[in-house]
Symmetry: C2
Subunit: 407 residues, 2 copies
């Protein structure tokens, strides 16, 4: 017997028929002798509708009211799934964020889970009841509903798995696992049987949308075994686990990309301490997530340039806020480009095996693709290129690193 | 300065534009120097959709999950209205049933409010904040969301008004007050400036859908001054108040009707004690609300008949359950008719003035309308007739009692 958390996303619970399908999957897992807690998202489309209303009703935004509104999506799904389970003979009850409770901090609409009290749920799991838990939501110190931000249901599932000491956390989604790259771009992309937490973390932050970055980081921290699998097939998925458990030791595990990036260069900054802190402090204040940052060495002057990338939709806000600092920062001008893609090559084995960067740069150069910014971590190399070349770059790198052949 | 509860129904908050309109009405009330708590329903149509889903997902019905699902409608509205208020400069926050809390009993989906703790809300009203309260919902002793049954938002508003000692409870709806009868049936129907609690209670239970019966009964018990008025006009509404305050002393205040009734006669029952208790006990068990009951005197045999009326939609359930008792009750046969209307003449002054019943029967007889069942209370006379004659009966009685001329 194992204790398992199953998480189903918005597409998997998109209508009543699909919710019944999820109920069958949960029932199979229960009948296999497991204790099961299910975490669900809102029905696909619901959250967008609610967010739209909250935005349209007035420009001034109270995040506490926003959370009250958007958290209803998951509230509906847990009720419906519980009824669906009961109707096929499975003992089940729904749990809302405030009922468990999932205690969060007070950053409404982007809250972090601080504490979960799982006693009641564990007691009921031990008696054979399925817990149907609303993802994405919690309760803030002020006693009001908080939400974790988009994609937060993955995080809810992992946090619950950690709190109840689950043997595994199965994330059901509309793809059947983690691929070497996006199969829509590269038909030869291959599903990975397993991947390390760190690789998955880099894949997620590099644009692969299978799992939310926060949930992977939390799973790594708490040692929660993740599995990504499809709610629409019976195929086995991809296990995300510690490096020690990895059998497969390929140089490169995957190619990730994000085609919706923008690049900003602040030209002619005085080369003195504190400048970068001011720029990125100003962006952090308005919750803009800066990804790659490169500062050019100032060899022949007292001036330097700083280049960074942000999501394309954040560009105009970022530019506006930096312009406001012009007098303070004394830079010469701002240059920006919103037609940028980030291509990343990821693999734990890079730590010990060399030559990956060299090979990557050769491949891109062979295809006449200009690299505008390069950034590396222990297990990842990312470059910014013109977005028009995204597919060409992904396919060429996938071929060059032999990702279509089983490691 | 007064403390006022305003209640807006589903049509009044049917879309974002209407919610903004409600916000303006609330603002006017605040700017007139009042403390304001607003109780809102779900956006029109939302609750029906949620109920539909809950029914479709499976035939077995867990009322706790049902409540979890349907209570989201009001949760969305309070969030949206709070944002709308903030955007026009009114300090406001939303309150869900479990946050106040509205403590109810454990009869999920038809719960009764047992206790309200208004301290936090009163404190904030005193500081000038508007409380935007979700109607229809509370929290049961098991810590789960309960709902009060359809139309429960009126009851929420009155209960809140009683708890915070409000000077008045204004029920905004899509009609501008209580009429002598349904203006769709009788164009000469006249809006009443005031009506007594008891009359309103009879009007509501006799089919006038302006206010939910429970809310009127609660207002009467706690002495809450009710006002019914339109959210779409500026016209003054109808005050519902104690009889002592009533100036107008007309014999008859209104004609109410319900055209969706059914009648069941259990024929040939043994005339002995306990039979009626068995019949109506069986119906109460499945929550069927029986309205009029008539037992014919058994003069020439040991057999008797019992006739009662139920809402048309309950007929098949009622018949099925009484058939199941055939052996036990030893009745001869069941006769039923689902094309029945109930017509009621209502007026507090009937207590002291005679002749209303006689006049009512004369009018119906003149129009060749056959009365199938008659039932009277101190301030009401109700008859069941064939539903086809509903409009004719209402108009004839309205004319006969001179309701179109101001009393």
């Amino acid at each position: 017997m194992a204790r398992i958390v199953q998480k189903f996303g918005g597409t998997s619970v998109g209508d009543l028929e699909r919710i019944r399908n999820v109920a069958q999957k949960v029932k199979s897992c229960v009948e296999a002798g497991n204790q099961v807690a299910v975490v669900v998202s809102a029905m696909a489309g619901t959250t967008n509708q609610l967010v739209e209303w909250a935005k349209q009703i007035g420009p001034m935004h109270d995040a506490r009211e926003y959370d009250t509104i958007v958290s209803t999506g998951e509230q509906v799904t847990v009720g419906l799934l519980s009824i669906a389970l009961q109707n096929i003979g499975v003992d089940a009850r729904s749990w809302l964020g405030w009922q468990i409770p999932f205690k969060t901090d007070d950053v409404h609409s982007a809250a972090r889970i601080e504490e979960i009290n799982p006693d009641d749920i564990i007691g009921r799991l031990n008696r054979g009841q399925v817990a149907v838990v609303a993802g994405f939501q919690g309760i803030a110190p002020d006693g009001r509903i908080s939400t974790l931000g988009r994609g937060g249901s993955d995080t809810s599932a992992v946090a619950l798995a950690a709190a109840i000491n689950a043997d595994r956390c199965d994330i059901y989604t509309d793809v059947d696992g983690v691929y070497t790259t996006d199969p829509r771009v590269m038909p030869k992309a291959r599903k990975l049987d397993s991947i390390t937490f760190e690789e998955m973390l880099e894949m997620a932050s590099a644009g692969a949308k299978v799992l939310q970055t926060r949930s992977v980081a939390m799973a790594m921290r708490h040692g929660v075994n993740l599995q990504v699998l499809s709610s629409f097939t019976e195929a086995s998925g991809t296990l995300v686990q510690n490096e020690e458990k990895q059998m497969e030791k390929q140089k490169v595990s995957g190619i990730a990309y994000s085609a919706e990036e923008a690049k900003v260069t602040v030209v002619g900054l005085p080369d003195k301490p504190g400048i970068a802190a001011k720029i990125f402090g100003a962006l952090a204040e308005i919750y803009i997530n800066v990804d790659m940052i490169v500062q050019s060495a100032s060899v022949d002057s007292e001036k330097t340039d700083i280049t960074f990338s942000v999501a394309r939709e954040e560009l105009s806000n970022a530019v506006k806020n930096i312009r406001n600092l012009k007098d303070d920062l004394a830079f010469e001008r701002l240059v920006y480009d919103d037609n940028i893609a980030k291509i990343s090559v990821i693999g734990t084995a890079m730590r010990t095996q060399t030559g990956v960067a060299k090979r990557m740069f050769e491949v891109l150069s062979d295809k006449q693709i200009n690299m505008q910014v390069i950034s590396t971590s222990e297990i990842k190399i990312s470059v910014l290129i013109q977005a028009d070349y995204t597919e060409l770059a992904v396919r060429s790198l996938h071929d060059a690193f032999g990702l279509d052949t089983i490691g």
